[in-house]
């Protein structure tokens, strides 16, 4: 939906007028984009509430279960994602400065880092899957309730986050195409800026997931 943020925003003026002379309301579009980010935040917020409640209820079990997570992988992934946030702002900055090719390179780097993040995540998940720790898997089922809760939360939260990463990658792809075709350009870069906002939000959520899951022992 956010992908449209920019385009819809650009169409904020009634079409008849748009045909006449071009009008856009970038601040309006940005307001819409931030509102969308709030909904994302609150979507994760629901899960954070659940996490808080069960952490409170099953403190020791959570600590036990957290041992099974691979801290190194979690931290590496944090670095990857933080770096991708940097490359993202640099992509926006480059476009603002009318350096289109450079902007595309930074965007490519962001995309690559996102891939990297997902690969690490995949390795992590498949290691767990291998041990039957998987929502509905028998090992997870047999765990004491608190530990099971930890892993189910882990899969739901990182899973939802992973879906956001995937969506973000899709958006980057389409933005890259639109930069190339000139629809997104140094004078109308809002769409890229909004992609960036979305991507930073994905990063922001991960920053919280790290201590909640990997650093909990």
């Amino acid at each position: 939906m956010h992908a449209e943020g920019g385009t819809l925003g650009a169409a904020a003026v009634s079409p008849a007028a748009a045909a006449h002379h071009e009008h856009r309301d970038d601040i309006g579009s940005k307001t819409g984009m931030w509102l969308f980010l709030f909904t994302e935040l609150l979507l994760f917020g629901g899960l954070f509430i659940i996490y808080a409640v069960y952490r409170h209820k099953y403190g020791t079990e959570f600590h036990e279960a957290a041992h099974e997570l691979n801290k190194a992988m979690g931290v590496t992934n944090t670095f990857v994602l933080l770096t991708s946030s940097l490359t993202m702002v640099l992509a926006v900055g480059a476009l603002q400065r009318a350096r289109v090719a450079e902007s595309l390179r930074w965007l490519g780097a962001t995309f690559g880092l996102a891939c990297c993040f997902l690969v690490i995540k995949f390795l992590e998940w498949s290691a767990k899957h291998h041990h039957g720790i998987w929502p509905g898997g028998e090992h997870l089922h047999a765990m004491p309730p608190g530990e099971g809760m930890f892993f189910n939360l882990y899969f739901m939260m990182t899973g939802l986050h992973g879906i956001h990463v995937l969506v973000g990658m899709g958006v980057m792809g389409s933005i890259a195409a639109r930069i190339r075709s000139g629809h997104v350009s140094p004078s109308r870069y809002a769409a890229l800026e909004f992609t960036g906002l979305y991507w930073h939000l994905v990063d922001l959520v991960w920053i919280f997931l790290l201590p909640l899951f990997y650093l909990t022992n």
């Binding site: 008849a16 819409g32 629901g46």
Partner: protein, 548 residues
């Protein structure tokens, strides 16, 4: 281009086709907020009619003790569907999506909302959600039977189509979020020159507060419902006590959304009333800022009271006390509104017209609803009336008598603007009278029943509850007659009514400055604002001039 659609050469309006597409296709692809508002209206009344029939069926079954027409299983599905459709398909999108879409840009003096395409998309998402909800009736597994609250663990165990119904509610939530985002942005960005926040009509304030609730509360229930589906599918156990989960947590998450959402229903309706009263009193509104800010206060405090739905589930006693006191606090800004409305009538020059009657009906019925809410909010009494017919009475008075009647008031107020035709005044007043009688005969006995101890969601009941149940059923028939008369009167007006002038009621807000129905781009001349929204001096001067 030379010819101007809104200039003197163009006499068309938004109801007429323009541009490339004609007929149905022109409607289905429109980004005109007015057309989208009407499309919402059509869809919504279709579902409303379905849910109303279910409601009447419920009453028919409850007319006498014993099972007469349906099995308990079917009864349970009846009230579930009735509740789900009424809440998610009718009353939550009701005023914002229909009247908000149509009126908000007009009142702000704008051409359209900020994101017209998103607006159209939200209609399609709404339809998609509605189709999913209806599919859950026919797909294998059986009609959902959990009640509109989908409480775990029953909703996790029921063999019926709960997942689909829950998913439908999830999708509908997105439609609601999209509308909210659109309105907030529109209000921030597209107000006419000179219209500061405190010169905005109060209906816009109501929508502004509502939109914030939609944007911030809906995602929480979104994720909760998604987790219910995951739980049914993968057994993740968040809410299942058998797996260490906590069913009370489900209720917390559900009500964190679903209490604020009752203010999504009522705030726009309160906005409508704040428009109608000054117009028909022919004077400025009393306490503009108090009414505007109390909307925001209700929205904010409304987030903090959800626990009052859970006084008997075994929450900590501390939590019960905290939620009870907060619940009482939310009644205060509502009271402020009611008192300011009364004061707006004081020393007015009042014309008794159907919109005003509906507005006063709102004040009366909603006050009963709100005041019975206080009985629910007090701990000792809620323990007794919780999950009884008393609560059913309370929420029909607030939702139907409040939000529903608010919508009817809005329809009578803006119908001439929307369709450019006047309805029959006498018939409208009759319909109002029959409705008011039927409403109270239908729902007042429920309050009595609840106090007597009749639980809700009961397919059958003990003989001692018979008399009030019977009266209530008779009331439902009176109510139906009134509503059918109202609907018929309005629909008839579209074709056969007298043409409406631009400003039939003497309103002062911007929508009355354009023609009825408005042209495609709303205003021939972009309006600028120099006074508050309810300044009648110009109108009065014009009337005085005419009298001479």
């Amino acid at each position: 281009m030379a010819e101007s659609k809104t200039g003197p050469a163009w006499t068309g309006n938004y109801l007429q086709d323009y541009g490339r597409r004609r007929g149905l296709m022109a409607w289905l692809t429109t980004t005109d907020h007015k057309r989208i508002g009407l499309m919402y209206m059509m869809a919504m009344f279709f579902f409303f009619t379905v849910a109303v029939m279910l409601g009447v069926l419920i009453r028919l079954e409850l007319m006498n003790p014993g099972m007469q027409y349906v099995t308990p299983r079917v009864y349970n599905s009846l009230f579930t569907l009735h509740g789900v459709i009424m809440i998610f398909l009718f009353i939550v999108p009701g005023i914002p999506a229909v009247m908000g879409n149509f009126i908000l840009p007009l009142q702000l003096g704008a051409d359209d909302v900020s994101f017209p395409k998103l607006n159209l998309a939200s209609w399609y998402v709404y339809i998609a959600g509605a189709v999913l909800a209806l599919t859950s009736l026919f797909a294998g597994g059986g009609v959902p039977d959990t009640g509109w609250t989908f409480y775990a663990p029953y909703a996790l165990r029921s063999g019926s189509n709960v997942s689909l119904a829950v998913f439908a509610a999830f999708v509908l939530g997105f439609s609601s979020i999209m509308t909210g985002m659109n309105f907030i942005t529109t209000i921030h960005r597209l107000r006419a020159p000179g219209m500061g926040f405190f010169r905005m009509p109060l209906f816009c304030w109501g929508l502004y507060a509502t939109s914030w609730i939609q944007v911030i509360a809906t995602p929480v229930v979104g994720i909760t419902l998604l987790l219910v589906i995951m739980e049914r599918w993968l057994g993740i156990g968040f809410f299942d006590p058998a797996r260490g989960g906590d069913p009370v947590l489900y209720q917390h998450l559900f009500w964190i959304y679903s209490h604020p959402v009752v203010y999504v229903m009522i705030l726009p309706a309160m906005g409508v009333i704040s428009e109608i009263l000054p117009t028909f009193a022919g004077r400025t509104v009393f306490g503009y800022k108090a009414i505007a800010l109390s909307s925001m206060a209700i929205a904010i405090v409304g987030y903090m009271v959800w626990g009052h739905h859970m006084f008997t589930v075994g929450m900590s006693d501390t939590a019960r006390r905290v939620f009870s006191i907060l619940t009482f606090l939310v009644a205060i800004p509502t009271g402020i509104k009611v008192f300011n409305w009364m004061a707006t009538l004081y020393k007015g020059s009042i014309r008794i017209e159907p919109p005003l009657l509906w507005a006063l009906g709102f004040v009366f019925l909603f006050s009963i609803g709100g005041l019975t809410g206080l009985v629910n909010g007090a701990l000792a009494t809620d323990i007794h009336v919780h999950d009884t017919a008393f609560v059913v009475g309370h929420f029909h008075y607030t939702m139907f008598g409040g939000a529903g009647v608010g919508l009817f008031a809005a329809m009578h107020y803006w119908w001439p603007k929307i369709f450019g035709r006047m309805y029959n005044r006498k018939r409208a007043i009759w319909a109002w009278g029959i409705f008011m009688v039927g409403f109270n005969v239908l729902y007042f006995p429920m309050l009595v029943l609840g106090i007597m101890g009749m639980p809700r969601r009961y397919a059958d009941y003990l003989p001692r509850f018979h008399t009030p149940e019977l009266i209530s059923t008779v009331g439902s028939w009176i109510l139906v007659s009134g509503l059918i008369l109202m609907v018929w009167n309005l629909i008839r007006a579209i074709k056969h009514g007298e043409p409406a002038p631009a400003n039939p009621w003497g309103g002062t807000t911007l929508e009355w400055q354009t023609t009825s129905p408005p042209p495609q781009l709303n205003f021939a001349v972009a309006p600028t604002v120099t006074t508050g929204p309810y300044d009648h001096t110009a109108l009065r001067a014009a009337a005085a001039k005419e009298a001479q």
